[in-house]
């Protein structure tokens, strides 16, 4: 699906976010990206969903060079990639139904989008999507009145309405409480399994990554630290990934990896 070759992203010609990154992601693959904050995960995702261009290097999506996309062609390609953001990125003042249906904006003609804003044209589609994520009763509520976890579900419903081939989930659960987090990750996994969609997920929680993903990529300082099957990732790999980063959360992650059996027994919802 994706072939990245020597990708660099430099902001303001000073800050290097991603450096000389090579990556290959096959169709239908499920991959988790882990790494300390500031490793360039979000920047990488913004390049993968074609909202920002790489400074240098080539990014092939489905065999097509991303540099050749522009205008209508670019929008058509973007439609095939769905993104879930850490901060939901919904429009707070709109009703849930409009936020869900905004997933269709890539395929609707403009008049259809205007019409739907006045009276939702595919409310049944929105309802179906919301039912899938378990909040069908919120269809006409104002989005900002929903809790963080519910808003993330609305964002997933928007993804369902968009029906993309690739799902990019950028820390989808870091603003959700841990009990719900596993549920949301599971939902996205099921989605990619049943419809054979490629799934890439940034995760803060190393445990969730191990529990659900066959392939793990460690990202550090804008470049790949390891890219291995989950079973081959060792504590040394993780220690190398997080060494030098001092946030407490990360140290906790390292600790939790050191004694997995203990952690698992305390958090039964993480075990499958």
């Amino acid at each position: 699906m994706y072939v990245l070759n020597q990708i660099c992203k430099i902001f303001d010609s000073r800050t290097v976010a991603v450096r000389e990154l090579d990556l290959k992601i096959g169709r239908g693959e499920r991959v988790a990206l882990i790494g300390p904050s500031g490793a360039g995960k979000t920047t990488l995702f913004r390049m993968l969903n074609l909202t920002i261009p790489p400074t240098s290097g080539t990014l092939l999506f489905d065999g097509l060079d991303s540099r050749h996309f522009s205008g209508r062609r670019l929008r058509e390609v973007r439609r095939r990639i769905g993104t879930i953001y850490q901060q939901h990125n919904l429009v707070p003042r709109l009703q849930v139904v409009h936020n869900v249906l905004s997933g269709k904006l890539g395929s609707w003609p403009t008049w259809r989008a205007v019409q739907s804003l006045i009276r939702p044209t595919e409310a049944d589609l929105a309802l179906e999507a919301l039912r899938h994520v378990g909040i069908a009763d919120k269809l006409y509520e104002r989005t900002e009145t929903l809790s963080g976890g519910q808003q993330q579900r609305v964002a997933i419903a928007r993804l369902l309405a968009q029906d993309p081939e690739v799902i990019l989930a950028d820390e989808p659960v870091s603003s959700v409480d841990p009990a719900l987090a596993a549920g949301i990750v599971k939902l996205l996994i099921d989605l990619s399994e049943t419809h054979c969609k490629t799934l890439l997920m940034n995760l803060h929680s190393v445990d969730l990554a191990f529990a659900h993903f066959p392939r793990l990529i460690g990202l550090k300082d804008g470049t790949i630290s390891f890219d291995l099957p989950a079973a081959a990732v060792t504590d040394e790999h993780l220690a190398a990934l997080y060494v030098g980063s001092q946030t407490e959360a990360v140290e906790e992650e390292i600790f939790s990896r050191a004694e997995p059996s203990f952690v698992r027994s305390c958090q039964p919802h993480l075990t499958r």
């Binding site: 522009s70 769905g82 429009v91 709109l94 409009h98 904006l105 509520e141």
Partner: protein, 296 residues
């Protein structure tokens, strides 16, 4: 700079910010300008307290009482009052019609920078980029031109062009307020949270639909609020416009002032006050309604 978190180790506190030479030079210039203005504008508050000043103020104030509420005078006012409301309403409407599209074009994040344009900037040809930036600069220049010329000067010109009456007043308010609305609209739109816009863009939405689904819903309360405030200003401004013959209650005010009928002036000022307060109440209501409505 005082450190509020006294428990934090020294190494974690921000380094004290040094003032650059640029800042110092501009601060000194500003202070000098301020002092110079005080002298040059001949600010002499004591003048108000001198015998002659006091006498004039006294005559003016006592002349206002009692306000002229005779039927002969009040019956004259119905038409100018309605004319003033219509003038301000049509003027503001025209300002929105002209100002909104210009405001969109003057919004940097829509025309040539920001996340909505990041990819285009790199991919499209340089000429396209320059064209967009050129449009942006041109529109901003037009908006400042509209604003720079005061509304009564516009009215003065339009009275020459289309004759006496409310219409030149409508044109004057329409043009000068379009300049203000356009500028403030663009500022409001630029300060909208870009996150939802980026997520819409990532679904393949076009710029127009991003505007409709992401930008306007977020900005609407501020846009409406500011427009209503401008309507309130337009009622006040239409008074001044009356002075140059653009109709409305201002024309009546000018006649009364010139005839030294200060008691009529008080009546007119009271009416103006009620009108402005009325618009204020109305706009507060509209704002509340907009804020509580969920769709768009």
């Amino acid at each position: 700079m005082q450190n509020r978190h006294s428990s934090a180790p020294v190494s974690l506190t921000l380094p004290a910010r040094r003032h650059s030479n640029f800042q110092i030079v501009w601060s000194v210039l500003f202070i000098l300008t301020f002092l110079g203005s005080y002298r040059l504008a001949q600010v002499k508050p004591l003048l108000l307290l001198e015998p002659e000043g006091r006498r004039n103020i006294w005559r003016f104030v006592t002349g206002m009482f009692p306000p002229d509420l005779s039927w002969d005078f009040v019956s004259l006012l119905g038409r100018p009052i309605i004319e003033t409301i219509q003038l301000s309403l049509m003027g503001t409407f025209m300002a929105v019609v002209i100002g909104f599209p210009l405001g969109l074009l003057a919004t940097r994040s829509l025309t040539f920078t920001g996340i909505l344009n990041e990819r285009e900037m790199v991919d499209s040809r340089r000429s396209v980029f320059l064209l967009r930036k050129g449009t942006y600069l041109l529109v901003r220049a037009i908006l400042s031109l509209f604003r720079t010329i005061p509304e009564f000067v516009w009215a003065f010109m339009f009275v020459r062009a289309v004759g006496l009456g409310p219409f030149p007043g409508v044109l004057a308010i329409g043009i000068s307020y379009a300049g203000m609305l356009g500028k403030v609209y663009s500022e409001i739109l630029e300060h909208v949270n870009p996150g939802p816009l980026e997520s819409l863009q990532a679904t393949g939405a076009s710029r127009l639909t991003i505007l409709l689904y992401g930008l306007l819903p977020q900005a609407l309360p501020n846009l409406v609020s500011y427009t209503l405030y401008r309507w309130e200003c337009a009622i006040r401004a239409s008074t001044i416009l009356g002075f140059v013959g653009a109709g409305g209650i201002g024309q009546q005010l000018e006649i009364s002032m010139r005839m030294f009928n200060f008691n009529q002036v008080l009546t007119l000022v009271a009416i103006l006050f009620v009108m402005v307060a009325g618009v204020d109440v109305l706009s507060a209501k509209v704002r509340r309604t907009i804020l509580s409505r969920s769709s768009v």
